[in-house]
Assembly symmetry: C2
Homo-oligomer: 217 residues x 2
């Protein structure tokens, strides 16, 4: 598939590189088409990798666009990408609305009665927004076999057919269907975004981000 990754940071790099390994064509989107980090990634990533503006990248995708941007910039990034370029597509929103402006630990700039996932869906009513992959380290997001054991991810979204297509995609990445929890509509993104504070405490306690949540029954 032709998949777009919005964002040139650690998450965008990890996701983009993994998508290439899975055989997809990947365009990395950023504010400008001359972004140095995006160009460096393309130079190292081979001929199925390209880069462009958020707008170009959103148009490039045939089905999936993955928002790997900073949570504080996500709405702005998606406005630049353009509603018409994202119309009818599935937007996987990985971003968490973490605000580090008051130091550590960060707080959430939106939570409790709203979520970034809901704000994204509201901004893009004709896009199928799925909040997912925001509760684990980027190295494991599309490569679950790197952690032993039945760890889990979540998804929240309003469109059941889109969630079905996304689950099929996750299966190709190595996720067993039993490891993927469809929590319900996009409002349930509140819950996974609010997992971040305890995730950060566990990270600090363990001294490594190499862990994930499991559900023990």
């Amino acid at each position: 598939m032709k998949i777009s990754v919005l964002g040139t940071g650690m998450v965008g790099n990890a996701i983009g590189t993994r998508l290439l390994a899975l055989g997809h064509e990947v365009m990395m989107g950023s504010r400008t088409a001359t972004n140095e980090k995006a160009k460096a990634w393309v130079a190292s990533a081979g001929n199925k990798a390209s880069n462009g503006t958020y707008e170009t990248a959103a148009a490039f995708a045939d089905k999936f666009v993955i928002n790997c941007g900073n949570g504080q910039h996500t709405l702005d990034i998606l406005k630049q990408a353009g509603a018409s370029n994202l119309k009818g597509k599935i937007l996987i929103d990985i971003a968490n609305p973490l605000d580090f402006s008051e130091g550590m630990p960060p707080f959430l700039s939106v939570c409790n009665k709203d979520s970034l996932g809901e704000q994204v869906q509201k901004l893009l009513p004709e896009t199928k927004v799925i909040k997912s992959l925001n509760t684990l380290n980027c190295n494991f997001m599309l490569n679950p076999a790197l952690l032993a054991g039945d760890h889990v991810i979540f998804m929240s979204g309003n469109d059941d057919a889109a969630k079905g297509e996304y689950l099929a995609f996750l299966n190709t990445c190595g996720w067993k269907s039993t490891q993927v929890f469809d929590l319900g509509d996009i409002k349930t993104a509140r819950g996974t975004e609010m997992l971040l504070p305890v995730w950060l405490s566990i990270y600090q306690k363990l001294g490594t981000p190499n862990f994930n949540f499991g559900i023990v029954k």
Copy 2:
């Protein structure tokens, strides 16, 4: 030990009954000494069970007081229990600040930059407050063997010696030390209280509260 349980609801009942099975003397505290639910519990629970006001119960405990009250009433309950009766003791705060006043799903009446755990510690500066057990069903709180697998609980508190005593108590309940995550000071209670929205979504998805979080490494 002489342990007090504040609250007569499902959580107080489960915790009180389990403490008796572990050989402790238990006083259940409530707003009045004639509370019907507390008296019914005592009548069914045998001669090591008693009940009284929050104040009487707090005074009864030799070391541990367990707050099993509703999160919306917790500060009021603890004011009634009395700072002098709780002074020097270890208060295990299980309550979550869930507010159901706007229907389902509930929201948190405090979160993000503050937590109920912190408010309790601020109210009772001479009590060693430990936020714990607030992230799983009450039947498993002091009886982890009812769930197979290495599920986990968390603790947050400012007093390391008190957390050590609490861990030793948890071991007597069946928790292995490797299943107990000391997240840090009481501020980290924000993270575990903010786990509740996703916990409730998973509960709804599974159709049962019989699960708990694990940490997969």
